[in-house]
C-alpha cells in the first residue's frame, strides 16, 4: 500500500492571550494510503483542525514534517500544495457563478478555456449539479452548496482532499445522505480523503480508519470496529460510542487468562496479555451487550438494580440503571425481545447480565 500522506512527529503550540501556551499538536505521526478515507475524530480543541490546517498549509508546524506523495511540503505555502479543502461553511465565492467557483483552481493555474469548461462540466455532473453552472451561489440550498464545494476542490485533481467538518451545517437527514454520497464519491475518484469531525457516528459510518485525537495526541488509530470494540484507553472508550466502565482489580494471572474482581466483589475471568497481579484495570461493557435476566454461565457478571431513566432512541431503549451497589449502568433494551411496558419505565426493578465475552479490558489510564 502506497502512502500518499506522511506526517511525522508534528508539533504545534499556540500562545494564549494571557501568556500561556496551548499544545495543539504533540508529536502526531500518521500515514495515509493512496485511496483511504481517514477521519480525524475528537472533541473541540483536540488538535484535529490544526492537523488538517497543517496539511493544507495554513498552519506552520513547529516541529516534525509532512510529506505528500513522497515530497516534503512542511514549509510550502498553501497555494503550492497538491491538496484541496472543503471548508466547514464551504467558503464559496459569492461574487462568482457556480461554474466560475468550480473553475477557480483551473483558472488560476492557467488551464485553457476549452479544457476548463469540459472539466467543470464533468465535475458538476459528478456531484449531480449538471446544468446549474450559471446560477448564483445564493440560489442554492445547503446541500447543493456542499456539492459545489466538493466539485470545486476536486476539479484540479488534488492528491488528497481535506474536509473540515463539512456536514456539520446540514440537518440530520441530509447529513446522513451526504455521508453516503461522500463515501461513494471517494471510491469513485479514488483519492485519499482526510475528514475532520467531532461526530463519532459520522466517523464510524464513513471511515476506513479513524484517528482519535485528544490534547494534541493520537489516542488511537484504527478501523472503526477496532475503535468501538477494542478501545485502547479510557478516553477512546468514552468518546466512541456509549459504554460502561467498571473498575476492577486483577487477582490472579495465568498466561493470558486472568481473574478480575469488581468493586461489588464479583469475580470474572478475562483474557488479556501483559496483566500483572494487583493491577487496577477497567472493564468496558457496551450497553447493547447487556442482557436482561439472571446469568446462565457462572463466569458472567450479574447486576441488580432499579431503572432510573429511559431514553427512546428509535429502534430501542437506552436505560440508565442504578445498581444495588450504587453504580450507574447503561443498557440497551430491544422492544421486540423484552416487555417494554414493564422494564422500560423508571423505578422498575431490573436484573442484568453481562456475558464474560462482552468484557473488554482497558489497562491504560485516561491519556490527555
Amino acid at each position: 500500500m502506497n502512502s500518499i500522506l506522511g506526517i511525522k512527529d508534528a508539533t504545534k503550540r499556540y500562545k494564549t492571550p494571557d501568556g500561556g501556551t496551548i499544545t495543539a499538536l504533540n508529536g502526531v505521526s500518521l500515514d495515509v494510503a493512496q485511496n483511504e478515507f481517514v477521519t480525524l475524530l475528537g472533541p473541540s480543541g483536540c488538535g484535529k483542525t490544526t492537523l488538517l490546517r497543517s496539511i493544507s498549509g495554513f498552519e506552520d508546524l513547529e516541529g516534525g514534517s509532512i510529506e505528500i506523495d513522497g515530497a516534503a511540503v512542511t514549509h510550502l505555502p498553501a497555494h503550492k500544495r497538491p491538496v484541496n479543502t472543503v471548508f466547514q461553511r464551504y467558503a464559496l465565492f459569492p461574487h462568482l457563478t457556480i461554474a466560475r467557483n468550480v473553475a477557480f483552481s483551473l483558472e488560476v493555474a492557467g488551464t485553457d478555456k476549452e479544457d476548463t469548461k469540459r472539466r467543470v462540466g464533468e465535475m458538476l455532473e459528478l456531484v449531480g449539479l449538471a446544468g446549474y453552472g450559471d446560477r448564483k451561489i445564493t440560489q442554492l440550498s445547503g446541500g447543493q452548496q456542499q456539492r459545489v464545494a466538493l466539485a470545486r476542490s476536486l476539479v484540479a485533481r488534488p492528491k488528497i482532499l481535506l474536509l473540515d467538518e463539512p456536514l456539520s451545517a446540514l440537518d440530520k437527514n441530509l447529513r446522513q445522505k451526504m455521508q453516503q454520497e461522500l463515501k461513494t464519491l471517494q471510491e469513485e475518484v479514488g483519492i485519499a480523503f482526510v475528514f475532520v469531525t467531532h461526530d463519532q457516528e459520522e466517523a464510524l459510518t464513513m471511515s476506513d480508519r479513524i484517528v482519535v485525537l485528544s490534547g494534541g495526541k493520537i489516542q488511537q488509530l484504527g478501523a472503526p470496529e477496532d475503535l468501538y470494540r477494542r478501545p485502547e484507553n479510557e478516553f477512546v472508550a468514552g468518546f466512541v460510542g456509549e459504554g460502561n466502565l467498571l473498575d476492577a482489580k486483577i487477582t490472579s494471572v495465568d498466561g493470558t487468562r486472568a481473574t478480575a474482581v469488581l468493586n461489588s466483589g464479583q469475580r470474572t475471568g478475562i483474557t488479556h496479555s501483559g496483566l500483572a497481579q494487583n493491577q487496577a484495570v477497567k472493564l468496558l461493557v457496551r450497553p447493547e451487550d447487556v442482557e436482561v435476566g439472571a446469568p446462565s454461565n457462572a463466569d458472567d457478571l450479574h447486576f441488580k438494580g432499579r431503572v432510573s431513566q429511559v431514553f427512546f432512541v428509535g429502534t430501542d431503549y437506552l436505560v440508565h440503571v442504578t445498581t444495588d451497589s450504587g453504580a450507574e449502568f447503561k443498557a440497551t433494551l430491544r422492544p421486540s425481545a423484552h416487555n417494554r411496558t414493564s422494564l422500560a419505565s423508571p423505578g422498575t426493578e431490573i436484573s442484568l447480565t453481562v456475558p464474560q465475552s462482552a468484557l473488554h479490558v482497558i489497562t491504560e489510564e485516561k491519556v490527555v
Binding site: 493544507s56 498549509g57 495554513f58 505555502p77 498553501a78 497555494h79 503550492k80 491538496v83 484541496n84 479543502t85 471548508f87 466547514q88 461553511r89 467558503a91 464559496l92 465565492f93 459569492p94 461574487h95 477557480f104 483552481s105 483558472e107 488560476v108 493555474a109 448564483k136 445564493t138 440560489q139 442554492l140 440550498s141 470545486r152 476542490s153 484540479a156
Partner: protein, 307 residues
C-alpha cells in the same frame, strides 16, 4: 370604521409622523434654494448685481462655448478650471484610497479594543476646526515649514521644495480632510470580508496577487466605490482647501463659484457653474446607485436563503 384602529392604520400614521419633519426640512432648506439656483442660472445678470427677469442662456454659453459677442467672449478658462477640479478631485480620491485601503485591512485584523481606539483616532480630526487644521498644513508645507526644514536638515534637499500654492498642496490637503470619509465605507466592506474566502482561494492554488485580484478586490469593491464617491463629491466642489493651500495659483471650480456669488456678484453665472458641478455629481451618483442596487439584490437573495 376608522383606518386608525387597525395595525395597518397605526403603522401608516407612525410612518407619516416620522417622515414629515425631514420632508419639510429638506423641502425648505434644500429643494427651495436648489430651485432658486436652477431658475437664476437661466436669468440675465443685473448690471449692479441682482437679476433681470429675462430668459438668458448665455450663463451656460460662457462656460460651454457660445457667447453674446456684444458683451463678452467665450472663454475656455471655466472649462479648464472645471477639468482641473475634476483632475484634482480624482487625484485626491486615488491618494486617499491608497492610504485607507491597507489601513482598513490592518485595523480590521486587530483585537476589538484596539479596533475601536484606531477608529476613534480616524475620526479625531473632526474635533478640531477645519480651518485650524488647514493652517497647520501651511506650517508644514511652506518653504520654511517643518517638512522643508526636516528634509534640508537631513541633507536630502538643498533648496526648499515649492509646495505651497501648488496642485500637490491642494491634493494633500483634500486627501487629509477627506480620509475619514474614504476610510469608513472601505473599512465597513473590508471588515465584512470573510477570511475563509481568502483561505479558500489560496487553497485552490491562487497566489497572493491572484487572490487579491480575484477575491479580495471584487468583494471589497462596494466599499471602494462608496468611499471614492463620498470623497470625490466634496473634493470637486471644495473651495476652503484650495483657497488656503492653493492661494490664487490653484483655482478650483468651488473658488470660482464663491467668487461669482461674493465678489463678482454675478449670481446667475455662479448658479450656472454650480449646476455644472451638480450635473457631474448626479451622473456619478446614478452610476453608483445602479451598482448598489445590484449589490442589494444580491444581499436580499442571500437573506432569503438564510431565512
Amino acid at each position: 370604521m376608522s383606518g386608525l384602529e387597525t395595525n395597518e392604520g397605526r403603522k401608516k400614521l407612525a410612518l407619516f409622523g416620522l417622515l414629515t419633519p425631514p420632508t419639510i426640512f429638506l423641502g425648505v432648506f434644500f429643494l427651495v434654494p436648489l430651485g432658486i439656483m436652477v431658475v437664476y442660472s437661466f436669468l440675465e445678470p443685473g448690471l449692479y448685481g441682482g437679476v433681470v427677469w429675462n430668459f438668458y442662456d448665455l450663463n451656460y454659453g460662457r462656460i460651454l462655448g457660445w457667447a453674446d459677442s456684444r458683451y463678452e467672449q467665450f472663454d475656455p478658462v471655466y472649462l479648464i478650471v472645471f477639468l482641473r477640479s475634476v483632475k484634482l478631485a480624482l487625484t485626491t480620491v486615488i491618494l486617499s484610497l491608497f492610504i485607507c485601503y491597507p489601513a482598513a485591512f490592518w485595523i480590521s485584523r486587530m483585537s476589538d479594543a484596539r479596533k475601536s481606539f484606531f477608529l476613534f483616532l480616524i475620526t479625531l480630526p473632526f474635533f478640531v476646526s477645519l480651518v485650524v487644521r488647514l493652517f497647520a498644513w501651511v506650517l508644514i508645507l511652506r518653504p520654511t515649514g517643518f517638512l522643508n526644514q526636516g528634509l534640508m536638515g537631513a541633507g536630502i534637499i538643498s533648496e526648499p521644495l515649492e509646495l505651497m500654492f501648488t496642485n500637490t498642496a491642494v491634493v494633500i490637503g483634500m486627501a487629509y480632510v477627506f480620509i475619514p470619509f474614504m476610510f469608513l465605507p472601505l473599512y465597513a466592506s473590508v471588515e465584512k470580508l470573510d477570511m475563509s474566502l481568502v483561505e479558500a482561494s489560496a487553497d485552490l492554488g491562487a497566489t497572493r496577487l491572484q487572490t487579491f485580484r480575484r477575491v479580495i478586490l471584487p468583494m471589497t469593491l462596494p466599499g471602494i466605490i462608496g468611499g471614492s464617491i463620498i470623497v470625490f463629491i466634496p473634493s470637486l466642489g471644495n473651495f476652503i482647501v484650495p483657497s488656503v493651500l492653493g492661494g490664487s495659483r490653484v483655482l478650483m471650480i468651488g473658488n470660482l463659484i464663491e467668487q461669482q456669488f461674493l465678489s463678482a456678484r454675478n449670481w446667475p453665472f455662479g448658479s450656472a457653474l454650480g449646476m455644472l458641478v451638480m450635473a457631474a455629481v448626479l451622473v456619478l451618483l446614478m452610476v453608483y446607485v445602479r451598482i448598489m442596487t445590484k449589490e442589494e439584490e444580491y444581499a436580499n437573495a442571500t437573506k432569503v436563503k438564510e431565512g
